[in-house]
Symmetry: C2
């Protein structure tokens, strides 16, 4: 994109290509979603494409950003605002409910791309890493608010506990894809919450 100024129509075309690519990547994976497919389904020409994106990797970077917005929006407002164990449990309840009502095949669009991009060079994974980092930062910020209020032990490592939440979530979602139910997610998230509750300051209600 560089410093290009897009017309309203250009913005809409670019957005349509990204949304079409996101759908195709979700259905067929990063390598299965060919540029021909993406252009065909978004009714865009090859020259239009190269006007908006340097290459397919640049488009995939935009797909990751779009899916990240969607993933975070689906967890709002709890993900970004929790400041107590009780509110963290409400976030957990929301994720479980979402996973139970969605098509079981859905999983996490970012988790799906972790394997799809794993064989690609590091720059291709940079956007995905930025998304996981942002996700972990939301957890870490909430845990630090719990520390500030005195609910969480000052010695607890909030960055590590945030990674525990993210790993439990990704592992539970992955196993649920195959089992076709929400149970692995529930068990994994409850482990992570229990682990965090183990750092609740003495004298406070624990898990």
């Amino acid at each position: 994109m560089g410093g290009k100024v897009l017309t309203a129509k250009g913005v809409a075309t670019r957005r349509r290509i990204i949304e079409t690519a996101a759908d195709l990547v979700a259905a067929k994976g990063v390598s299965g979603a060919t540029l021909d497919d993406i252009l065909g389904q978004s009714a865009a020409s090859r020259s239009q494409f190269y006007h908006y994106f340097a290459d397919k990797d640049a488009l995939i970077g935009e797909v990751i950003k779009l899916q990240t917005e969607r993933v975070f929006a689906a967890q709002a407002p709890r993900l970004t605002s929790f400041s107590s164990m009780a509110e963290l449990r409400l976030w957990r309840d929301g994720i479980v409910a979402l996973s139970a009502t969605k098509k079981q095949s859905a999983g996490c669009p970012l988790g799906a791309m972790a394997y799809q991009l794993s064989a690609r060079p590091k720059p291709a994974r940079a956007n995905l890493q930025a998304s996981f980092d942002a996700w972990a930062s939301f957890f870490e910020s909430g845990l630090m608010r719990m520390q500030a209020s005195g609910e969480l032990d000052p010695a607890a490592d909030c960055a590590d506990l945030a990674q525990c939440l993210l790993a439990a979530l990704q592992g539970g979602l992955l196993l649920g894809l195959t089992s076709g139910d929400v149970k692995p997610l529930v068990i994994a998230l409850d482990m992570a919450l229990h682990h965090i509750a183990g750092h609740v300051a003495d004298g406070r209600a624990a898990w």
Copy 2:
């Protein structure tokens, strides 16, 4: 295969097709590894293929079985024999060392297939579910041995704790694919071990 009796050469051909398919699925995913690719690289004809396999799904089932054998062999002997917290920690050390030395892009071949098969009908996922079930059963058996020896609280739910181990492992491996290091795996596994250690019977050394 049914009740077909294969010659030694037939067994070798069938095995070669499965091993080639396993490599291609690892590199390109289930849908990216086309039958043409698999036959070309294993120097097998289409009629040979249909002599050994009903269809591509049947072949993928055999790929899952092969990868499962490899995954379990890589964790031997600890996975199948641990009977104490100390031995479970040795299993954890082994997995971490393996993951640190392997190409970072490797992850878990079974975890990779969870997303690849998620949109397929349930029968296509049955072999993968059987593999995850077998994996969890190994954990559960070890945890039950810890219960029998008195190390683990009799009230601990070994089936749930086994799922915790598997979810932490899969989540940590998935996040490590993107970060390119072993840290997410270490944090996730240590959460699971800590969680299990929380069920160690009173009076025993905990985590």
